[in-house]
């Protein structure tokens, strides 16, 4: 079957991006939010997130001439592997803050109707979710953040982490299940510790 323009689109963008800023710009706008969100959950502090996001894209620009298209998802896997390695280097280099990160130092969350209007409250929500994800195994943390915040498909994660696609799916299911349990447990603890508004008014 001849390739359609849609099929060739990202491949063409990647090939052109080496010398065509417009093509690179399109790729950048597509992947920047995903890389940023992924690194945010892996690292936390906004200044580190910005440094690692910048490092990821600068390395990508540098290595782009050597990238080889390997079918759909290969570019995403390649780019996220750079981000993944940047995060790994960050921790290995001992840059990880020892003390808990204050919510003010976290990135902001995209404002939505669901979230508190107050930016600090949104950051506390991010801290809560980071805390929950941090309780997963390293492998589950990687896969859950790549899947949900990096927006990668299972196949792309498998390619990135050199795992079987089914193994990725299994980690993902177990990770979500653990998150559910942790979240339920945390919610129960909160309810015990802080009576709801209606209970207070009855008193």
């Amino acid at each position: 079957m001849p390739k359609t323009p849609e099929l060739q689109r990202e491949q063409s963008l990647v090939a052109r991006a080496r010398r065509d800023p417009d093509a690179f710009r399109e790729l950048y706008h597509h992947y920047f939010p995903r890389i940023y969100a992924y690194i945010s959950y892996r690292v936390g502090r906004v200044q580190d997130v910005e440094d690692l996001t910048a490092e990821t894209f600068l390395k990508a620009v540098e290595a782009l001439p050597r990238f080889r298209w390997q079918g759909q998802g290969s570019f995403a896997a390649w780019l996220f592997r750079i981000a993944h390695n940047a995060v790994a280097s960050f921790y290995r280099a001992g840059d990880r803050p020892l003390e808990p990160i204050r919510p003010e130092a976290l990135p902001d969350l995209r404002a939505t109707d669901t979230l508190p209007a107050d930016a600090l409250a949104r950051k506390e929500l991010l801290a809560q979710l980071r805390h929950l994800i941090g309780a997963l195994t390293q492998r589950q943390q990687e896969i859950v953040t790549l899947r949900f915040f990096g927006g990668l498909r299972n196949q792309e994660i498998a390619r990135l982490l050199k795992l079987d696609e089914r193994t990725v799916a299994a980690h993902l299911c177990r990770g979500i299940r653990t998150l559910q349990a942790l979240y339920r447990e945390q919610a129960i603890r909160q309810e015990v510790a802080e009576p709801t508004h209606s209970e207070v008014s009855h008193d």
């Binding site: 417009d22 620009v61 390695n85 969350l109 995209r110 109707d113 669901t114 993902l172």
Partner: protein
């Protein structure tokens, strides 16, 4: 604990994406508040960068690309990469009060710079944003006005009626029309035109009311029609003309009905223009027993959601989500091609549920088994409210299927990394035997990661090339298991669609204790790739028009708008205006023998070297390239790669200017040479580069003359990355003789192997540019795939290479300015 929450569109999509991942595990799909809580939390908490950081990093990266089109010294200093970022990107290093002062100073400097550099004319144009001037109408308050979403045309026979503009103000509604394709007025009215007293244009409102003209000014086939004011909430009307102005019935068709959509002159498209979410029936396409069906659609000014169902007849096939290797595209009948929404928060991977569909034949006395199916929602860029017909195109679906095979590999007593064993393999996939003509196992040390933080692991890797690799259906994955101790579960492999080669693997648990002797390996399953194209078409409800009365976007031919720079003349040929994009077709004119615009770029072969390609209007508004919507000519099958697409024109723009910093042209050239690949080359991990395996470079002396360049390739090596083996040639340094043009690569016409096989050029690349930042020494680099798809080996000997063109970047800039057709 569970509180009622109201999800925004983006939250809902992410939530659906999350739900999708838990399909396949019924316990996870169970309803309940727990699931809702964690999903809502995940869906809500998407970190977001500041626009300042995003934009500054983008500018920094674009500068890097511009400076280092091929190679940058950054790689040699990975530890310093972060420090190369502009200080302004890194926030929070300056005390707040000092940042405030600095910010105020920057604002003042920007204002001064704007006034002196841009000039008062552009500033005045910005001030005019809220006050428009329409020739023949005068100044209008944009805040209080509605205008056409885009000019439209209606063709009947040889005559085309254009609705140039509709301006709805508090004191009246003005419609400007014109026609083309009419005979000369003098031929019909030699003694002067006469107005038909019965000429009574009308505007029909959605609630059934009709407005009659208060006044009109007519000319041959054209006119300005003035109606009473429209009610505030009206955004769609139908213009009814008994005939074209001053045109007798025998000259042009009578009875014109043109649906028109309006928008606020300063705002977005109104939601009322879009249909309510609707169900779609009988919209499907079937290939190879797999049916793609569109079941529901929701359109809005922000996005278009398409609910689709994939259903297949073979109950042994499995799929947990709709995996399409083709990028899905949505096409309308006007000429737009919409791609998935770019924001990952609104990505296409929405809710997927496994459903069972009862076969349609319910009259059968024997109840049939339910047919397996999946449902999923894709999210695309917003569709034009004028679209009447939509087509979803997808392809490349994958299914897990049963597969059976068992084989043994004798690893011997002392297996080591790099050892290879041939395999005998009889494979049964989906009940059918698959002949495998070459298969091998090898123990490879694989590097995970790249640069300075790579990790290694040992894998028993299997390369399998099934014979009869088909175009429409292909084996594209194998799942391996081994009961032997010392191996972990199957590692992922890969699939090369060009050669059909499948790679799978088993991880060695402890590389210091590699299993020895004969091991048993079992194939537990396989993946099939179906490579047809599925196209599903449906009608948008409420958009039906009278037969032959389909309006289309206006395409305006542009004449005598050109500019010559450095020997190249660029001309604007055509402009198309819709409510979703502005398309500008640009070409070299006159075409120069021996030169042609490169056409391998989505935006018309224009390559931007120094700065962005921009489109601006006479009011100083800038239109960015359209990322998620492409244009194809009316009724054409494929997008028009020669048409640059930008965002839709803002109301009342009168003149457009296209700024083209540079173009890439391909100059024909004829050159050929042979490059000798020595026998006995081995590949090893490159310690200085990305995680790929390369051979030792070997010297070559190959002189090549292309265009005006005399080049010499002096080094060659093999480069292997995930199954592709490239022969890469690097030239000696050369210098450019002109400051306004430079070589950016060569075009490979054909490569033949020592045994005469023509190699696939799908992965062939070429690039040229400065070897280091700021250097005047340039190098040319050329690479093509030399791996034999049948033997999976690289044949030694002379490879014949034929080049047929040189890609040249020519600096401009070209500034092409033209007036839009005036009402």
């Amino acid at each position: 604990m569970t509180k009622p929450v109201f999800l925004t569109g983006e939250d809902q999509k992410l939530l659906q994406r999350i739900e999708r991942t838990i399909v396949g595990d019924p316990s996870m799909v169970a309803s309940g508040n727990d699931r809702d809580d964690i999903c809502v939390l995940l869906a809500s908490a998407m970190p977001s960068a500041t626009p300042a950081f995003r934009d500054q990093l983008e500018a920094r990266l674009l500068r890097e690309i511009e400076r280092h089109p091929k190679r940058s010294p950054l790689l040699s200093k990975p530890g310093n990469v972060v420090h190369k970022i502009d200080a302004s990107v890194r926030r929070g290093l300056m005390p707040r009060w000092r940042r405030g002062i600095a910010l105020a100073a920057v604002v003042l400097a920007l204002v001064a710079l704007t006034l002196t550099w841009i000039g008062p004319r552009r500033v005045w144009a910005h001030l005019q944003q809220w006050l428009g001037y329409v020739p023949g109408i005068g100044f209008v308050e944009l805040d209080e006005s509605r205008v056409l979403t885009a000019p439209v045309a209606l063709q009947r026979g040889d005559v085309t009626l254009h609705i140039e503009q509709l301006l709805a103000r508090p004191d009246g509604t003005t419609v400007v029309i014109s026609s083309e394709g009419l005979p000369p007025e003098d031929a019909v009215w030699p003694h002067g035109a006469r107005v038909d007293e019965e000429f009574a244009p009308r505007l029909h409102l959605p609630d059934g009311r009709t407005l009659q003209t208060e006044t009109f000014t007519l000319s041959w086939g054209a006119g300005t029609l003035v109606f009473p004011a429209l009610p505030d909430d009206v955004y769609s009307v139908t213009l009814s003309l008994p005939g074209l102005p001053l045109v007798p019935p025998e000259v042009a068709p009578e009875g014109w009905e043109i649906p028109l959509l309006l928008r606020s002159a300063t705002g977005e498209l109104a939601d009322v223009l879009f249909p309510q979410p609707y169900a779609v029936t009988e919209a499907s396409d079937t290939h190879q027993g797999v049916t793609l069906r569109v079941v529901a659609v929701a359109q809005s000014a922000e996005e278009t959601a398409v609910r689709l169902q994939l259903q297949w007849s073979n109950p042994d096939w499995e799929s947990h989500f709709i995996h399409s290797s083709d990028m899905p595209a949505l096409r309308d009948d006007l000429g737009h091609v919409y791609y998935e929404a770019a924001d990952p928060g609104s990505g296409s991977t929405s809710q997927t549920v496994v459903v069972s569909v009862q076969p349609e034949d319910e009259t059968s006395p024997t109840p049939a088994l339910p047919v397996p199916a999946l449902e999923e929602t894709l999210v695309f860029a917003p569709v034009s409210p004028s679209a009447r017909r939509l087509t979803l195109a997808m392809g490349g679906f994958r299914f897990d299927v049963p597969a059976e095979a068992e084989f043994t590999v004798d690893l011997g007593d002392t297996p080591r990394g790099g050892d290879t064993w041939p395999l005998e393999l009889d494979l049964t996939v989906d009940g059918l035997p698959v002949h495998v003509f070459v298969a091998s196992a090898r123990l490879v040390e694989e590097q995970i990661g790249s640069f300075d933080d790579a990790q290694k692991r040992l894998i028993l890797q299997f390369d399998i090339a099934p014979a009869g690799h088909g175009e429409d259906i292909a084996l594209c994955g194998l799942w391996l298991e081994s009961a032997e101790t010392g191996f972990r579960s199957g590692s992922t492999g890969g699939y090369d669609p060009q050669s059909g080669q499948v790679r799978a693997g088993l991880d060695v648990a402890d590389e210091t204790r590699i299993p020895t002797g004969v091991i048993n390996v079992r194939v537990s399953g396989a993946t099939l790739c179906l490579n047809d194209l599925w196209a599903v078409t449906w009608e948008v409800p409420g958009t039906a028009t009278a037969s032959g009365m389909d309006v289309v976007p206006v395409t305006q031919a542009i004449e005598r708008v050109n500019q010559t720079r450095n020997g190249l003349t660029l001309q604007v040929e055509e402009v198309v205006l819709t409510d979703r994009l502005t398309g500008v077709k640009v070409a070299l004119n006159p075409s120069i023998e021996g030169e042609a615009l490169a056409t391998d770029h989505r935006w018309g072969g224009l390559s931007i070297v120094a700065q962005a390609l921009t489109l601006t209007d006479d009011r100083g508004r800038n239109y960015v390239p359209s990322r998620a919507v492409a244009w194809r000519p009316y009724q054409a099958l494929q997008p028009d790669s020669a048409t640059l697409t930008f965002g839709p024109l803002e109301p009342l723009a009168r003149r457009l200017t296209l700024h083209v910093p540079a173009v890439t042209v391909v100059e024909p050239a004829a050159a050929s040479f042979a490059v000798l690949v020595p026998d006995g080359l081995t590949l090893a991990l490159d310690p200085t580069g990305p995680p790929w395996r390369v051979s030792e470079p070997w010297p070559v002396e190959i002189d090549v003359n292309v265009a005006e360049y005399r080049l010499r390739f002096s080094e060659a090596r093999l480069e292997d990355l995930n199954g592709t083996t490239l022969l890469a040639l690097t030239s000696e340094p050369y210098q450019e003789s002109h400051s306004w043009r430079r070589l950016s690569g060569v075009r490979i016409a054909m490569v033949t192997t020592p045994s005469g096989r023509e190699v696939s050029l799908e992965t062939a690349h070429s690039a040229a540019g400065p070897e280091t930042e700021g250097s005047t020494n340039h190098r040319l680099w050329l690479a093509f795939d030399v791996k034999d798809p049948q033997t999976l080996a690289v044949e030694p000997g002379p490879y014949q290479v034929i080049l047929d063109g040189a890609s040249i970047i020519v600096q401009g800039p070209w500034d092409l300015s033209w007036a839009l057709s005036a009402p």
